[in-house]
């Protein structure tokens, strides 16, 4: 399973994304976030945008990655549905840096709701038995 949604929080959306590597969990968390708004399967992948992120650690890198994707989605008007991570690097001075590609279409799908932001409520990125688990609550 790449990601799953949980009903617990009444007004916002909790999801968990999984991956056997950091790039995989980052991809799946992004897909889970945009899957809150529309059906990913509806999107034809005919646009690509490079998206960068930085963070003092891997968890903050994930926060910045998801937040920057929301920003690009709104500004560029691309409905993202798939993602690939080109590089994740740890630098001695600036912490972690990521370069990724977000793929999607400018054709609007049927929308369920709007994700306003990525909250820090319960936000975590854990590694359990060589598997990464990202827990995210988005404000909708």
């Amino acid at each position: 399973m790449d990601f799953e949604y949980f009903d617990e929080i009444t007004s916002d959306q909790l999801f968990r994304a999984y991956g056997s590597s950091l790039p995989e969990v980052f991809r799946n968390a992004a897909r889970a976030m945009f899957g809150v708004m529309y059906d990913l399967e509806e999107i034809v992948l005919d646009h690509e945008i490079e998206v960068c992120a930085v963070g003092i650690d891997e968890k903050h890198l994930l926060y910045d990655w998801l937040s920057n994707l929301l920003l690009e989605f709104e500004v560029e008007g691309v409905f993202f549905a798939d993602f690939s991570i080109t590089t994740i690097e740890e630098t001695p001075k600036e912490g972690f840096q990521l370069i990724g590609i977000a793929k999607g279409s400018q054709k609007m799908p049927e929308l369920r709701t709007q994700v306003k932001g990525v909250t820090l409520h319960r936000f975590s990125l854990e590694r359990v038995n060589n598997r990464y688990i990202a827990t995210v609550v988005v404000d909708v």
């Binding site: 617990e8 007004s11 709104e74 500004v75 820090l120 409520h121």
Partner: protein, 482 residues
């Protein structure tokens, strides 16, 4: 946690600071027994989290529309000392100055009914809605700085309204001291916000043509210019991507600040900074910019709503009396002075899903409403009733001049989508004679009226507790959604 609540009277419940370790102050919940029965334990626990923050002033408050959110519950108020307390980007949330404004008309149901579909279509076409929607206004970098510095004043200066509109907005539609650029406002926030002025957005935001259904207080209604069977327009939206980005930027910055200032947090979403610190004051200046964006956003759309009515009824908006009753914000942090334990204290009041409800005579409310108190606008869920209330002296004494903001969700969004279909919701509303236009039909399922608490019970609780009083209720005739 619910078992630790002590009932004070029919509409008040107390949670002592001994309820859990590290609480600095107690918490109070306003609501009937029925409200308490449906309140999630997690929401009560979130109140106790806020009570642990430095400089918290008793009590942390939950309104009857409270429900489990992130950080502070939706429908809650947290006040902190302006010297020894904190300012929290996490407590205020993403949708800074999400708010409601009410525009009255001199039209009656019989005037609007034959033209309702045309009117709703006209409004739908004039007010851009939807996820990531871009506005019709193209702003230069300099103009954008003016928008976030001046708020609704910018719209008035650029022929999107009249001066009288400003006097009928909380804060006069403009908070002084807003930041406009680096380091307080990031390039990301400016980039996200600049194309979005004059957009409704999506989710729970809406524009409704309503009919005044019932008057509860004739004399106050008269002061607000409201009467039975009158047509009014309610607009519910906020600071859009600009506010969301300001919140995002400061969640990251305050996450660093809590380590720097050694602040213990029970929930990392409650990130904050000392009120007097550079991080705290930078956030407050950036938040004001987002507040101003939202005021300007609602003002610009008001102008287009007026134009829509002019097109349909072939009269100018002044002849149709499309004047602003009031504009309230329900997601904000405000520096205010309140009486605490018999003396005046300067505090930062965080209202997250809560409305200011200042009583009669307060200097911060418009002159023409001074004798009765501030109008409080309560949006119900889509297709159900909304209310106009009025602020009270009791709110000043008890809730830092605050009351509820809406119905409050009772069902999670995914659960609503599983249970309801947008097409059925639309049909059900249209079978009752209401006209619904939305960018997406699916969005209607998530906002299904039954996914929310009963707004009447919520309002009866704040009325019963006298932290605001019922003036009028409205029912929707036409709904525009993102």
């Amino acid at each position: 946690m619910k078992e630790k609540l002590v009932q004070l009277d029919e509409f008040r419940w107390w949670l002592d600071k001994s309820a859990r370790p590290r609480m600095n102050v107690g918490a109070k919940i306003i609501g009937s027994k029925k409200i308490i029965n449906t309140l999630e334990d997690a929401a009560i626990e979130q109140l106790t989290n806020v009570a642990t923050l430095p400089g918290a002033i008793e009590p942390v408050l939950a309104m009857p529309d409270a429900h489990w959110g992130y950080g502070l519950p939706m429908g809650a108020v947290g006040a902190f000392d302006a010297e020894d307390g904190i300012i929290s980007a996490g407590c205020t949330g993403f949708d800074i100055n999400c708010g409601v404004r009410l525009i009255r008309t001199n039209l009656r149901l019989e005037d609007v009914k034959p033209k309702l579909r045309q009117l709703v279509d006209e409004l739908f076409n004039r007010v851009p809605a939807g996820v990531g929607s871009k506005g019709k206004i193209r702003l230069s970098e300099g103009q954008f700085s003016d928008v976030i510095r001046l708020g609704a004043r910018w719209a008035i200066e650029n022929d999107h309204g009249v001066k009288e509109d400003l006097t009928h907005c909380e804060e006069g539609g403009s908070m002084e001291g807003a930041a406009t650029g680096s380091p307080q406002i990031t390039e990301k926030a400016r980039r996200r916000g600049r194309p979005q002025l004059g957009t409704l957005g999506a989710g729970n935001h809406y524009l409704e043509v309503q009919k005044v259904e019932k008057i509860f207080d004739e004399s106050v209604a008269k002061v607000f210019g409201l009467e039975k069977d009158q047509i009014v327009v309610m607009l519910h939206c906020g600071s859009r991507g600009f506010g969301h980005q300001v919140a995002t930027d400061y969640l990251e910055r305050m996450a660093v600040a809590v380590k720097k200032y050694n602040i213990w947090l029970p929930d990392q979403q409650l990130v904050c900074a000392p009120a007097t610190s550079s991080e705290g004051q930078d956030y407050y200046a950036a938040m004001k910019a987002a507040v101003n964006f939202a005021f300007c956003n609602r003002q610009v759309m008001t102008h287009w709503i007026r134009q829509g009515f002019e097109a349909v009824f072939a009269k100018d908006w002044e002849s149709l009396d499309l004047n602003l009753v009031y504009d309230v914000t329900h997601n904000i942090c405000k520096y205010e002075t309140h009486e605490v334990n018999g003396s005046n204290r300067d505090i930062y009041v965080h209202r997250k899903g809560a409305t200011r409800a200042f009583g009669p005579g307060h200097s911060k409310i418009p002159k023409d409403y001074q004798s009765v108190g501030q109008p409080v606008l309560i949006g119900g869920s889509m297709g159900t009733a909304s209310y106009v209330l009025v602020g009270t002296e009791q709110a000043m004494k008890e809730t830092f001049g605050s009351t509820c903001h809406g119905a409050g969700r009772a069902m999670s969004r995914k659960a609503a989508i599983r249970k309801y279909h947008g097409r059925d919701i639309k049909q059900a509303l249209e079978s009752k004679g209401k006209v619904v236009r939305s960018i997406s039909t699916k969005i209607l399922a998530e906002e299904a009226p039954n996914a929310y608490k009963d707004v009447h019970i919520v309002v009866d609780s704040v009325h019963g507790a006298d932290i605001s009083r019922k003036v009028a209720s409205q029912i929707p005739l036409g709904v525009v959604k993102g």
